[in-house]
Symmetry: C2
Subunit: 376 residues, 2 copies
């Protein structure tokens, strides 16, 4: 069995092209991880997701512990087998969703007690239980339990959450089974305060993880704040280990973060937007529900490889959303994930060629130029 490892294969400024090895295969970085919250990347067959060029998907500990349950998934052969995805999986720690979805949550130093948003049943998540659940699921990359707060926030609140996350990092590390070939990532917190972020990054480095995530961003702050935090935080992370920016983001967020040395991303945006009729394309975002598409015989992007982008007219996609047909979300999600992976593929190639700035400029010029003019 292959053990977790990270190799940097090329650099262009702070941007890196690399390869992460895991027990379930390799991940080309920079990587975008489609989100499979409840053991399914919504509206997609798993082999489709892989065929797009996604090497890894994300599973959500909070959702899976509640339904179908981690012990059940383990008895059924683990999450890879359960969801028919034999490739790498990263699981989050459950902390973020406990804070955003659960009812009557009560945080203490030791962990968090909460009621399920599904049936009101009481559950407890501690750093140790989170690691246990992620191990039962069989994740290739596990995340420490942390506390993620919304921005803007008081400085004292940012510090408290960061310090608690650090304590939980230490306990997560102690609970993690070394030598399994799996990886455990620490999560840098500290809000938008450079000193807190640096303190968090250094303390995590002292504990020692297989990779480092930057959490607590994409929680309501402007892009400029997020990029400033990256500028301040990334240099404090171990150069030779992978860096994961959690929950980010738009294609532009991703390009800007790769430029600053981020290797991994996850976001529900391409799947969620796809279900609501918003398509990501090289022309920018296209709202398929808009009446301008009703008579448009052109596909989303005739130059794209993905059949969803190339083979179906905008008029048809518009009709599917107006008519509430499931095929609308299916095709638009497919288009969106294909476009995200196309952006990542181009970024990896450009970094290898030392042309990352030019690549970003070209992509952004396409977005700025905007969508095709409406048919007359």
């Amino acid at each position: 069995m292959t053990k977790f490892a990270f190799h940097i294969l090329a650099r262009d400024g702070a941007a890196r092209r690399g390869e992460i090895l895991t027990p379930h295969g390799a991940i080309r970085t920079p990587a975008f991880m489609p989100v499979g919250t409840q053991a399914s990347v919504k509206a997609m067959y798993p082999d489709q997701v892989h065929a797009l060029g996604a090497d890894i998907v994300l599973g959500n500990t909070y959702h899976l512990m509640l339904r179908p349950g981690a012990e059940r998934v383990a008895a059924l052969g683990g999450l890879h087998h359960f969801m028919n995805w034999p490739y790498p999986i990263l699981t989050d720690s459950g902390g973020f969703q406990v804070m955003s979805l659960a009812k009557l949550r009560k945080l203490d130093k030791d962990g968090v007690t909460f009621r399920s948003h599904i049936d009101g049943s009481e559950h407890r998540l501690t750093p140790e239980r989170s690691i246990e659940i992620q191990t039962l699921l069989g994740a290739d990359i596990l995340m420490q339990l942390d506390e993620c707060i919304a921005l803007p926030a008081e400085g004292s609140e940012m510090k408290r959450a960061m310090m608690l996350s650090l304590a939980w990092a230490e306990r997560s590390k102690a609970a993690f089974e070394e030598g399994s070939g799996r990886a455990l990532f620490g999560i840098v917190q500290g809000g938008d305060k450079a000193d807190l972020r640096l303190q968090s990054a250094r303390a995590l480095t002292d504990i020692g993880f297989d990779g480092y995530a930057i959490g607590g961003l994409a929680v309501g702050e402007p892009q400029a704040v997020m990029l400033k935090v990256l500028d301040e935080t990334v240099p404090a992370l171990e150069e030779k280990l992978p860096r994961y920016l959690m929950g980010v983001g738009t294609p532009d967020d991703i390009l800007s973060s790769i430029e600053r040395g981020i290797d991994m991303f996850d976001c529900v945006m391409p799947t969620r937007a796809g279900r609501h009729g918003q398509a990501f394309t090289r022309f920018g975002t296209v709202n398929l529900r808009n009446a301008r598409h009703a008579d448009d015989p052109r596909p989303l992007d005739e130059s794209a490889d993905c059949p969803a982008s190339r083979t179906y007219s905008r008029a048809y996609l518009h009709h599917l959303f107006k008519a509430g047909e499931m095929l609308g979300p299916m095709l638009t999600t497919w288009n969106n994930l294909a476009y995200y992976q196309q952006v990542m593929d181009g970024a990896r190639r450009a970094i290898g060629e030392g042309a990352y700035d030019d690549y970003c400029a070209t992509i952004r010029a396409g977005w700025a130029h905007g969508d095709l003019p409406a048919v007359s």
Copy 2:
């Protein structure tokens, strides 16, 4: 361009194996036509539908005339192009859905005026307009406008609707463009009255159609009533032309009707049931929402060809329905349409081998035996 034609290739009792030729390709009969109500077979990509062995799909005139509109579909290149289905399409006449879905419908001798169930707008459907819409859509097989009533009904009501449908049959024929290569089917009505059915069949034969449908069944009557009507009606239909039993049915209904000389079927059952977690298999129907599947690592049917039937565990399918994931309907619809096509494929083969009775007995024994025992 190939013109419509029907060739009977083999017989076994009253059952026939044949081939229908249309401008968009051949249809192997007996054929099951998946229903693409709003220009989409729900939860399926069109190339998937074809790969299952479906040679033809059905489109609904009522839905398509309201949204996106027949003239719009025509301007966009016709229904085949619009929905990415380059194979044969049959459209119904709109009559059935006007009666079951539209608001404030007012039937007169000339046609029916109704309000859209979508936005309340007023529309009118006449035999001539129905043919015009179906021609704009570009259907390979068009259906005459008829009036379909629910059973049980008064004899006088059955007679009135049958006579009106006959008058509309004549006008539909007059409005239909001959020499287009397309086909127009007449629809036998008459409820459960043998004399009315015979009168309808003979009068339609006098008008002369490319094929004959039996309408007004699968509208609430027991299976025995439906089969009795077939026994009484089919012998009155021209032997050399295709026979289409509208809106039918369960796999057992279909086997019993093929035995009586029916060549074509359509039904929303496999797609609708799939969206609600009911799977059709060689073990009978399986309710995937049932808790007995929650820990079952076995697929729906490990001997099936369809990936949806063979590759995903019942536990996973159960989870997808409990969690409200779109992939549940996607996979179960796929399984169901695959199973229906598998039944049809076996029927065609058995008729060719003169073994149709044995085939039906084997299939029915599988259903009677029932589903796999629950895992302990």
